[in-house]
């Protein structure tokens, strides 16, 4: 029974990783038509280095993810402090309001942003994507930092304040250092949310101002070459590293140690 269960987990892992491995391998196959047998080549990665369009889209993605991460982390951490450390009327309603960006299908959120940004004259482009990505990332940051605050003792701040520290001073000297792993985890998470976001970017992009996932999508639709495998593999490895970093920082056990 035990052996069957472990074999089953192994099969599920094969199902989850097989297509990814095949796709990554094809990025190192010499044939432009994905023909087999496999013949190792770095040709597609070299081509990638000369593909200005994809490189520009890649830089757009990275800058967008950095800005999204910074803004969402600052705003979301502030909101989490209010939602988990202060009591006020309407707190539950405000917590529920965090759900729409997570729970409503991105197709609906994305098209709604398109309509609204068009109507108000905000328009489309990277600035519009930034507005959208930050809104998507804020709820995740609030939830991750909020969880961190829940596992952290509130009496340490109170002790600091009773010893004459101002709230701001107590925050920077006591709360912030203890909360740092959660905040770093939330920032990485926000970065990954933005880096991998496709649907909203797709509706808000204009030619010449796109992100990597949008470029990959249009390439897949138009007919693709292993170059797309190469860039996809890079994107995949990047987000896996970021999420493993998140798992490292945001784990509650790590919080306990730093007390």
């Amino acid at each position: 029974m035990l052996r069957i269960a472990r074999l089953y987990i192994a099969l599920v892992l094969v199902f989850l990783y097989l297509p990814i491995v095949v796709m990554a391998a094809m990025g190192f196959n010499a044939s432009p038509l994905y023909a087999l047998p496999f013949e190792f080549s770095t040709r597609w990665y070299q081509d990638l280095a000369g593909n200005d369009r994809l490189i520009e889209a890649g830089w757009n993605s990275i800058w967008l993810a950095v800005l999204t991460s910074v803004l969402a982390t600052v705003f979301g951490t502030l909101a989490a402090l209010a939602l988990w450390r202060r009591s006020f009327r309407g707190r539950n309603l405000l917590r529920i309001l965090l759900l729409p960006p997570i729970a409503i299908p991105w197709l609906i959120t994305g098209t709604a942003m398109l309509v609204f940004f068009f109507w108000t004259g905000i328009g489309r482009g990277l600035h519009a994507m930034l507005i959208g990505h930050v809104a998507l990332a804020i709820p995740y940051v609030v939830l991750v930092v909020g969880t961190g605050l829940q596992t952290m003792r509130a009496d340490l701040e109170e002790a600091a304040m009773s010893l004459g520290s101002t709230p701001v001073h107590a925050f920077f000297r006591v709360t912030l250092p203890l909360l740092l792993p959660s905040i770093v985890g939330a920032a990485l998470f926000a970065f990954a949310v933005s880096l991998d976001q496709f649907v909203i970017s797709y509706f808000l992009s204009v030619p010449g101002m796109t992100t990597l996932p949008v470029e990959i999508y249009s390439a897949i639709r138009k007919g693709f070459t292993p170059e797309i495998n190469a860039i996809s593999t890079i994107l995949l490895v990047a987000s896996m590293i970021i999420i493993l970093g998140f798992a490292r920082f945001a784990r509650p056990g790590g919080l306990g140690d730093s007390r």
Partner: protein, 299 residues
């Protein structure tokens, strides 16, 4: 709950301190102003657009109408599209439920400690990578002459092509791959909470494993199954890139029809009405199952 705690009379300290409500508001303002601008106002605007006669361009006079909400009546092909979306959603959810529950069960009963932690991270990791890239990766496997065919022909050289790209099962496969981790996680959390003593008691009373599975584990893990099912069904009925890439010609779903209204047909009012119809279904699913969830939690 001490609402507005001390709002009226905070004790005066030596230094100036802003009233607590002001600090709370200042902490909340950036996030909620941003969410209002980027999510709530757009949804409101789209709701208003869904009652417009046509996309407001140039100086065309604004006319209001309800006709876009009659689209399912006026364009009967949409019913077929809705059925396609629904059946894709149900198949995906059902397969994820069976496979995901079994995975979580195997994880809880057959692994422990560090290896369990590592396996859980490995199972959840793909979920946080780019969904588009993962869908694309399936085309490498299931296309005619793709990895699946090569693997089959290495065993039996004359094997007929197993490729099933551009079919409905291909769409379901891609979606299951994308959303399975949700179900693994929610079932894992639910199964972890079950006391081993309950299972041992059942076994000592002579219950066999099908009895234990269907009379104890599944009912007790029901909140996890339902949560997972909602988390999967809702985004799946709004999916549009999976049907486009894996479904090709047969991949016409509500998601792709709505996308078309915004990117190709430029009929924003119709697209808005269809999106809000879908949103109503989503909210209906949430409302129906929040009751079930609460009851299961109490039972």
């Amino acid at each position: 709950m001490p609402a507005e705690a001390g709002a009226a009379g905070a004790p005066a300290t030596t230094r100036f301190r802003p009233p607590p409500w002001l600090a709370t508001a200042a902490l909340l303002l950036p996030s909620y102003a941003w969410l209002t601008l980027a999510v709530l106002l757009p949804l409101g605007t789209m709701f208003a657009f869904s009652f417009l006669e046509a996309t407001p361009l140039g100086n065309r006079p604004v006319e209001w109408t309800l006709r876009h909400y009659r689209a399912f009546h006026d364009q009967p092909y949409l019913l077929g599209v809705a059925w396609t979306s629904l059946s894709i959603g149900l198949w995906t959810t059902a397969i994820c439920a069976v496979v995901g529950f079994a995975t979580a069960l195997a994880l809880v009963r057959a692994t422990a400690g560090r290896s369990r932690e590592t396996l859980l991270i490995l199972l959840l990791l793909p979920f946080w990578t780019n969904g588009l890239v993962r869908v694309f990766s399936w085309t490498m496997v299931i296309r005619g002459g793709g990895f699946l065919d090569v693997a089959a022909r290495s065993v039996w050289p004359d094997a007929p092509s197993l490729g099933f790209l551009y079919t409905q099962p291909a769409i379901v496969l891609g979606l299951v791959h994308g959303y399975l981790p949700y179900m693994v996680l929610t079932c894992y959390i639910a199964l972890l909470a079950i006391d081993d003593a309950v299972i041992e008691a059942a076994m000592s009373l002579g219950a066999r494993w099908p009895t234990i599975l269907f009379r104890i584990l599944v009912p007790l893990a029901m909140p996890g199954l339902v949560t997972g099912a909602i988390l999967i069904f809702v985004p799946v009925i709004g999916a549009f890139m999976e049907p486009r890439i894996l479904g090709g010609r047969v991949g016409v779903t509500m998601g792709t029809v709505i996308e078309d209204q915004f990117t190709q047909a430029f009929n924003w009012p119709l697209g808005s009405a269809l999106a809000f119809t879908m949103l109503a279904v989503v909210l209906g699913v949430f409302a129906t199952f929040s009751g079930v969830l609460r009851r299961t939690a109490q039972a």
